[in-house]
């Protein structure tokens, strides 16, 4: 992805201005053959410096915006970049194929794997196609069916989590959204193969944990994972949509918060200025980290993997020391 295609977030305005200047100077340079390379260099250094300043101190609310950035690599980008011979598999064998829940088999660095994940889409058309990454019960049942497959053929499972939440709608309730999520969590816990889950953007509540009850839970540096959306929390607890920043801070939903709280295992550093600025780099890093965790997990038997996962979650949130 080219720099100039990236949508600018509100808090990135100063950087966008510098980048705009660089772009214009480059056009002048190309058009009139004047050498202004030193000025371009200076501005580029400035933009890097500003990015670094900004991105090392992102507030939780800013991180939430980065996590939901439309140009961020999504589930299918990771699959395309990391999984060879990917064959998408369709349907829950009961009702329908849920496009929001992508899944299939493929080869990850020479090892056959089962991949599942929510796809948000990258433009209006694909967003509608993937229902904005909000899965319905058939999506969670499709995930379970694929986990059955993984167990049967002893294939590790990789999940890319990126959803604002499970779809709230009449038909989703009719077909048992609650039961579908509950049984998906149960299915995760019963897996007898290595299972690594990565929150690549937004980990929205029950819809996320349904495929994130894994042996290893990893988060990208600027991703979020929360029990409720900041907007939902602000409207319920503060009764005001304007309090969204306060709600975001109170919820402790950043990767750094979750690591401190002992919920996740590792944070994957993003390229300067966020994953949206360098798809190839972040996809490569994510691949390396997944490979390392899968290797570590591969020494355990299926029973051990299941027991370790169960023990891990039985302890979640227990005997927790107070954060400062």
């Amino acid at each position: 992805m080219k720099d100039n295609e990236i949508i600018t977030l509100e808090f990135e305005k100063t950087i966008a201005e510098v980048e705009e200047k660089i772009k214009r100077l480059k056009q002048v340079e190309a058009g009139e053959g004047i050498d202004i390379g030193s000025e371009v260099d200076r501005l580029q250094q400035k933009s890097q410096r500003l990015l670094k300043q900004l991105y090392t101190k992102l507030s939780p609310w800013q991180k939430s915006q980065v996590a939901r950035h439309p140009n961020r690599p999504h589930c299918l980008d990771y699959i395309n970049g990391l999984i060879d011979d990917f064959e998408p598999l369709c349907g829950d064998r009961a009702f329908a194929d849920d496009m929001a829940m992508v899944g299939g088999i493929g080869s990850f660095r020479g090892q056959s794997v089962v991949v599942i994940g929510q796809e948000k889409g990258c433009d209006l058309e694909s967003r509608v196609k993937y229902n904005f990454g909000m899965a319905k019960p058939e999506g969670y049942r499709k995930a379970q069916r694929l986990m059955d497959l993984a167990d049967k053929f002893k294939l590790p499972v990789i999940a890319f989590v990126d959803t604002s939440g499970a779809f709230p709608g009449i038909e989703a309730e009719e077909r048992g959204q609650a039961q579908a999520i509950a049984s998906s969590i149960e299915r995760c816990l019963n897996l007898k193969v290595p299972f690594v889950s990565i929150i690549v953007g937004e980990g929205g509540s029950g819809g996320a944990i349904a495929i994130a009850t894994a042996n290893r839970i990893l988060m990208l540096e600027h991703s979020i994972y929360s029990v409720i959306s900041p907007e939902g929390c602000a409207s319920i607890l503060w009764r005001s949509a304007e309090k969204v920043k306060e709600a975001t801070e109170a919820l402790c939903l950043t990767a750094q918060d979750l690591r401190r709280l002992g919920v996740i295992d590792e944070i994957i550093a993003e390229p300067l200025g966020g994953a949206q600025r360098d798809h190839n780099e972040i996809i490569l890093r994510v691949g390396d980290v997944i490979a390392r965790h899968l290797k570590e997990l591969s020494v355990h038997t299926g029973e051990e993997l299941k027991r370790r996962r169960t023990d891990k979650f039985l302890k979640m949130g227990r005997h927790l020391a107070k954060p400062e």
Partner: protein, 283 residues
């Protein structure tokens, strides 16, 4: 200090007398009739006009369920309060204190053990009056302990849900309780010990999307609300009015999510019948 005491005392008296007056009657949310509280308690919190099932206090439900109303409450380990130091318009720690005073319970769960139809049974029940029965680490702990005890004593487990979902004030840790309680229920299932999930008004969000929907048998109290997303959220998302009876117990049965919809008066008999059949016990 005398003048302070004199000044404060009348205020307290006033509040108490007002409270009693307010607590004499309850309005039926279904038909709007005023119900005399003493009668209501005698009638198991059923409306004497329309039969509507009002929310039943935990103690009353335990007394209805256990033989001769006798049960032993299990002490639960105390966890760190307010792990995120959460504050909205009020501090979460202050909210906890207020609800503890109100309910005389430490959190939104009670676990008890006793005989139900002469079968030793462990019952965990969520208390809607404690922060909407929301599930945080303490409720998760209660479910885990209830499962432990059921396994240790090889007794069937009954969980009575009444909850709006996960407790927002505990953030991600409350979300984790969905996986934690599911992991506990899994241990019980491995031992082939019966787990009956009884859903009461309301059973929604993170509670319905975890242990409540993982029972061997699902029982739901007549007319109660069961669902994943709240009706208001759904209406806002799809901008359509919801169908009649949406997310009611009967609707859930119709859609294959609940086995039995029961009237409160037959709750115990139904439960005993199921436990006896599952355990192949004769009278």
């Amino acid at each position: 200090m005398n003048w302070i005491a004199d000044f404060v005392r009348p205020k307290i008296k006033k509040a108490t007398s007002k409270e009693i007056a307010e607590n004499l009657w309850t309005k039926c949310p279904e038909c709007g009739q005023m119900l005399f509280n003493k009668e209501l308690e005698k009638d198991a919190y059923l409306c004497s006009y329309c039969g509507h099932h009002l929310r039943l206090p935990l103690k009353n439900r335990f007394e209805m369920l256990f033989d001769d109303g006798k049960y032993k409450q299990l002490a639960l380990p105390k966890l760190v309060d307010d792990p995120l130091s959460f504050k909205d318009s009020k501090k979460y720690s202050d909210r906890l204190k207020a609800y503890r005073r109100l309910t005389k319970n430490d959190d939104a769960i009670m676990v008890a053990c006793g005989n139900i139809g002469k079968i030793k049974t462990v019952v965990a029940a969520l208390d809607f009056t404690f922060m909407g029965g929301s599930m945080g680490t303490a409720v998760g702990e209660g479910i885990v302990k209830a499962v432990d005890f059921a396994i240790k004593t090889t007794s069937p487990l009954v969980i009575i849900s009444a909850s709006g979902g996960a407790r927002m004030q505990e953030g991600i840790l409350s979300l984790m309780q969905m996986a934690r309680t599911t992991a506990a229920i899994n241990l019980l299932k491995e031992k082939n010990i019966p787990y009956i999930s009884i859903m009461t008004d309301p059973t929604t969000g993170g509670v319905s999307a975890s242990f409540a929907m993982l029972g061997d048998i699902h029982m739901a109290e007549k007319g109660c609300i069961i669902g994943f997303a709240g009706a208001r959220v759904i209406e806002q998302t799809i901008r359509e009015t919801l169908p009649e009876g949406f997310q009611k117990a009967e609707y859930l049965r119709e859609h294959g999510m609940v086995d039995i919809v029961f009237e409160r008066t037959e709750m115990k008999n139904k439960l005993v019948k199921i436990l006896k059949l599952l355990l192949n016990k004769k009278d």
